[in-house]
Structures are given as C-alpha cells and as structure tokens.
C-alpha cells in the first residue's frame, strides 16, 4: 500500500461486470446496500412536493375531503347510492373507498413516470433502478397517513365505531402497495421505451376507478359473480377497507383472488423491470 490513508479493511469482493443473460429477479444484497438512498429519494420527493404552493400540506386533507363531498352530493344524494351502502353514511362509505383509491392512483402515476423524471440521475450514476419506483411509493405514505387521520375524524363525526376487524387494515394497505408496486414496475419500464404510457396513464387510472367499487358498493354486483371482481386487486382492497371499518360478512373468495392477482403483478412486474433494466438506460440516453 502506497500510503496509510486508506482505512484498513478486508478487501472488498470483486465486482464483475459482464453482459447478463436470461431472466433476473431481485438482487437483495444490492438493494440492501442502497436502502438509505431509497429513503433519501422519498424524502426529496416529500420535501419538494408542496413547495411554492400557497396552502401547502392542506392539499393532503382538501383533496379527499372535497372529493368526498362531491361524491356524496352527486352519487349519494342525486344517484341515490346512499340507499345501497348497508346503513353506512354515504360520505364515510365514499371516503373509505377514496383513500385507498387515491393512494393507488398516486403510486401508479408517480412510479410510472419515475424513471423518466429521474432520467438525469439514472443515466449518470449507478444504483439499483428498482429503488426509483420504490421510493415514489415511500413518498406517498405520509399523505396517506394524513388521510387516515381524516378518516378517523369522519368516523368520530358520524359516530361509527369500527370492530376488531380494523386490525386487518394494515394487511389490506400492504395488499394495495404490492399491487400498485407491481403495476408501477410494469409502467415505469414500459414508459422508458414507449411514451404512449405517459398519455395512457391518466385514462387508465380513470377507467380503473370505474371498475373498482369506489363510489358504489360491490354488493351491486350479483353475489354469484361478485368474487370475479377480485381479478381487479383494487376491488379486494376497497372492499377490504370497508370490511375492516364497517364489518359485515367477509368476501373471502374476493380477497383471495385479489391477493393472488396482486402477487402475480408484483412478481411479473419485477421480472419485467429487471429484464428491461438492461437496455432502458441506452433508450433514455443522456
């Protein structure tokens, strides 16, 4: 050693760079090594999100609140949906669907665009690319937390006390994250090659909301076919949220199908992402 300035430590294992072949799943060691970076990227997104806005963080509360009121007025009062909620006040019913839905569509949008918006970064420095869509998920969580507080306030306002089923709420949140992340991986990688994705995404989110029982209860679908809604993982999540908060019979078949579909999306999304990772840097340029 030419000088003593390099701290003595065991020689690090060699890094081998060569063309990889075939399908790759997760490189867990690599992800763990860069875990702090995921936090930093999320922290950056959170820090920057409400800069230069007049009311700042109030947006987090206003968005679901205003939507809830609009839904209550148009779907609840005018379309008489409030007769179908099984006794739950319609604003509360709508909010319980809106919160997970907004989180989902936010993740879809943010992670789908994440590679393109972070183009400068990923063409100049190496870190596991999966961290990019992953960190956008982390960045959405504080807003969701605030949303939950709003939900708590609404529960208190309407004097609805959830039962023990509320303990399952974290599980359904996890289900939501897995499904959103899976689709986010697909969209993010596709977006680097096909900018069509960027234009399709808002439309996709809108369409998806209508096939998800957000403004209407799943009970509108005949019971025999209701479990089929589970092919849409968000149906499982939204129904799950309502079951956690308002109780009632649990649609287990629907939950199981949604979970299976979410896992399939996550695993296929990860494979797809890792597969495209090889070339999307060259496509992004920079």
């Amino acid at each position: 050693m030419t000088s003593g300035s390099i701290p003595s430590q065991p020689p690090p294992p060699a890094t081998v760079i060569q063309p990889t072949h075939g399908l790759r799943f997760l490189d867990v060691r690599d992800l763990l090594h860069f875990r702090e970076l995921a936090g930093f990227l999320a922290w950056r997104d959170i820090k920057v999100r409400y800069k230069q806005t007049a009311i700042g963080v109030l947006w987090v509360v206003l968005q679901p609140l205003l939507l809830m009121l609009a839904f209550w007025l148009f779907f609840g009062r005018l379309a008489r949906m409030d007769q179908t909620t099984g006794g739950v006040p319609y604003p509360l019913f709508a909010l319980a669907g809106l919160l997970p839905w907004q989180l989902f569509s936010r993740i879809l949008n943010d992670s789908g665009n994440s590679l393109v918006t972070n183009q400068r970064l990923i063409t100049k420095i190496y870190f596991p690319r999966l961290l990019v869509p992953l960190s956008t998920v982390l960045a959405t969580l504080p807003d969701f937390g605030v949303g939950l507080l709003l939900l708590g306030a609404a529960l208190a306002f309407f004097q609805v006390l959830p039962g023990a089923t509320i303990l399952f709420l974290p599980l359904f949140t996890l289900l939501l994250l897995l499904a959103a992340l899976g689709i986010g991986f697909w969209l993010a990688a596709l977006n680097t090659e096909y900018r069509d994705v960027m234009y399709a995404m808002p439309f996709l989110a809108q369409f998806w909301m209508f096939v998800t029982p957000v403004v209407y209860p799943a009970a509108l679908v005949p019971e025999r076919f209701r479990w089929l809604l589970g092919f849409n993982p968000m149906a499982g999540v939204v129904e799950g949220f309502r079951w956690c908060l308002f109780g009632g019979p649990a649609p287990w078949a629907l939950f199981a199908l949604s979970t299976a579909v979410a896992l399939a999306l996550l695993i296929s999304g990860t494979f797809w992402f890792r597969w495209r990772e090889r070339t999307f840097i060259d496509t992004l340029g920079g």
Partner: protein, 436 residues
C-alpha cells in the same frame, strides 16, 4: 501490494442501434413481434429491429489498472471514452466482454447529479452524498469539511436555485470530492467553472491520487491530464490505439498521424461547425499562418529571414468588450513556451464599441526568437471572466518547423540547447580597479 490489479477489462464491447426509431419505438411493433415470434422478446439482447444498423461505441477493449495508478482516458469526441466510463460505473451493461473491479467504485460523471433546485445547500449535501454512495453517518462526519471546501457557509440554508453558478459548482464538486472510493471514475468535470475553481478541483484530485487511490480520468484538457495522470489511454473509434505514459498519449492525441498529418502541413485551421457551434458574440472562421505575400504556408517551414503573420478571421456577431483572442506557442512536447493575447500586447484591442461584421486579427510571428526546432501555435478565444469560445489545448494547433536561416555567426550551434533563442546583447568589461 503496489502491483495489485484493481481493474481488469477483457474484450469489452458496447453496441448501440442507430436510427430514430430506437428511441421511441411504437408499441404496436413489439406487440406484432410478440405474436409473430412470442419467445424472441425474452431472448437476451433480443433485437426487435434487426434491420436497424449497429454501431459499436466500444469494441475489443482490454486493459488492466493497478492500485494507485492515475489513468487519463483521452480521445476525440465519439471515441468511446464516456461509454467506457458508463460501463465501468455500471450505468450501462457491456454487450460483450468482462470487467473485474476490486474495491469500492465512485463515479463522478457529472457535477451535481441529483441536486434539486428547491432544496437547500444542506439538504442537497445529504441527498447528493447518498446518491454518490455515501452512508448518512459518513456524510455527517464530512459535512463541515464539505461546506468549508465549497465556501458556502452563509448560504447553507438557502435553496440552491438561488445560488450563483459558481457556488453551485463548488458545492457539487465538494460533495463528490469527499467521496472516498478506492476507484474513482471522473468524466470531464473540469469543463465547467472558472479558472480558480478548476485549479481547486485539480488540487483536490491530485490529493486523491496521491492518497493511493486509483483514478480514471476522462478529459479534453490535456494540461490537466498531464498534471494528474501517470498513464494515458488513447481511444479512437471505440478501440484503444495507445496505452502508455501519459505524455506520449497526449502527444499522439494532439498530433494525429497519417492522412491528417499530411493535411496539417498547410498551416490553416477551420473549425468544424459540429464541434464549435454558433456563439452569440463571435464566430471563428479560420486561423492561418501566412507569409509576406499573404499566402498560407503549406510546407510547415518558417524561416527567420521572413516575416510571417498569424491571421485570425472571424465574424463579430455583437460588440463585446470581454472578447479576447490569444495565441499560445508550444514546443513539440506540448510545453507552453509563450502566450499572448489581443488585450495585452496589442494596446488593448477593444471589441466593445465595434459594429458587428467580419473582422481579421493579425499578429506578426516574432523573429529572432525560435530556434531550429519544431513548434506548435494554437488559437484560443474567450469572453473575459465569462467563458471560453475556444479553450486552450484545442484542435486548432498548427505545427511548424523553424529555421534560423539568417544566423550567420560562425560559432553558432545549429542544435543549440533551449527552445527559445532571443538575441540577447551580452557585454563584458575589464575591472580597472584590479591593477591598483
């Protein structure tokens, strides 16, 4: 321990596909592919566009680097330098070959990667540090050092969007400079910033190099390469065309052989528009050495008995008092011998009150100064304290041989030592007082 290999690259190649469709191919093409040959999509490096031409940015590149070496990677634009760094820093995968790296790699392909304009200096130090691969604790430990080096103490809590570009660059470089990897990859970071900043960066980099770290340094700035590097890797069209001592690599880079050398016996340089695009103040047209009749010298030989002139022709787009032209004279090993500018020696030529239009500068090549050797003269041009129009160590160099043909002194040595031979009047006198 000194001989330990830290980088071993074997037959590394990188292929890109050319053509506009590669960037944004239509979804339907892939869908069609998917149905016509459903499994091809999942083949490694499948090529959905077999008909698009290939371009090998790198091909068959093999080299080894030992611990503590400082290697300059030089070559013209498009020679593959940046691609090589991108592969070494794992940003992109090679198409062929294999590289082994021993040690933590830090790469600095751009100053300020990941800086966010809305975040404060303090916040950006942490963010950028994490992006460059530092742990939170490590950044905290070096925080004061980083701030001190960047000289931004007073603005730590100001969003960097309010920083001057100088402060921004200093902060960005400072974070990167305090990364302590065993292998440091640096790409052209010195291309920005003022002279003082560049000096500071170079100082810091040589510090890093002397601490026994391995550095791979891509630059167009030959004096920086010369100062920092012990070894030079000259790339040309995707391959290594020279690997050896840095000065030799630099010489080969600056003196293209073969056809180009033949061409350069005509002492004229015309900028290629692609490389020196439109500048809002001045547009250089050509730079020539001409004889008394105004003809371009075309055998690279200058005689001391003749009066030659360097002519610079340019279009002035707008009058600007900051505009300065300079000429540098080098010896054949690229040591700077002389430097003169239009605002120092010419009685302050001021372009500030000059109407736009075609201009021509003329400078006599000094007589009774050069000896029977090879020299090079190079044009540079800048806006004072603002930026380069044509920075030093550029491709405008014209190489010439000088002949002191009118030196009639019978005692003169045609191979006398030293590169410059001004006529200096010596005198001698006897000490009268010694007799007393």
């Amino acid at each position: 321990m000194n001989q330990e290999l830290v980088i071993k690259a074997e037959n590394v190649g990188k292929r890109y596909q050319l053509g506009g469709r590669v960037r944004y191919k239509a979804l339907r093409d892939t869908l069609t592919d998917l149905f016509t040959s459903p499994f091809r999509v999942f083949r490694p490096h499948s090529r959905p566009f077999a008909d698009t031409p290939d371009f090998w940015a790198l091909q068959d590149v093999s080299f080894e680097v030992k611990r503590g070496e400082v290697v300059g990677i030089i070559g013209r634009n498009g020679a593959g330098k940046s691609t090589l760094l991108k592969i070494l820093s794992r940003i992109t995968e090679p198409t062929t070959g294999r590289i082994e790296l021993h040690g933590r790699v830090g790469s600095l392909l751009e100053v300020g990667t990941g800086f966010h304009p809305e975040l404060t200096g303090r916040e950006n130090i942490f963010l950028n540090g994490a992006i460059l691969g530092m742990k939170r604790a490590e950044i905290r430990r070096k925080f004061d050092e980083i701030v001190a080096f960047a000289e931004i103490e007073k603005f730590l809590d100001t969003p960097v969007k309010h920083y001057s570009s100088g402060m921004y660059m200093r902060l960005a470089f400072s974070v990167a400079a305090h990364l302590e990897p065993e292998i440091l990859l640096v790409d052209e970071v010195l291309a920005v910033g003022d002279a003082e900043f560049q000096e500071k960066c170079l100082g810091k980099m040589s510090e890093v190099a002397h601490a026994g770290r391995t550095v791979l340094f891509v630059s167009h700035n030959m004096s920086a390469v010369q100062r920092l590097c012990t070894r030079g890797l000259l790339l040309d069209r995707g391959g290594i065309c020279f690997d050896g001592p840095a000065p030799e690599a630099i010489r080969r880079y600056l003196q293209p052989s073969g056809k180009e050398a033949e061409k350069s016996s005509r002492l004229e340089w015309t900028p290629r528009l692609a490389r020196y695009p439109f500048h809002e103040v001045v547009r250089l047209k050509w730079f020539r050495i001409v004889d008394e009749t105004g003809a371009i010298v075309d055998n690279r030989l200058l005689f001391n008995s003749h009066q030659y002139r360097a002519l610079i022709d340019a279009d002035l787009m707008q009058g600007d008092a900051r505009l300065i032209f300079g000429l540098s004279f080098y010896d054949s090993e690229s040591h700077l011998l002389l430097f003169g500018t239009s605002n120092h020696d010419a009685g302050l030529i001021n372009f500030g009150n000059r109407p736009p239009g075609s201009i021509q500068l003329s400078m006599p090549i000094p007589r009774n100064l050069f000896w029977n050797r090879s020299y090079e003269v190079e044009l540079c041009c800048c806006l004072h304290y603002t930026g380069w129009v044509l920075s030093p160590e550029n491709e405008s160099r014209l190489a010439f041989d000088f002949f002191r043909d009118d030196d009639l002194d019978p005692y003169s040595n045609p191979t006398r030592a030293g590169y410059l031979a001004p006529v200096i009047p010596w005198t001698v006198k006897a000490h009268a007082s010694e007799a007393e």
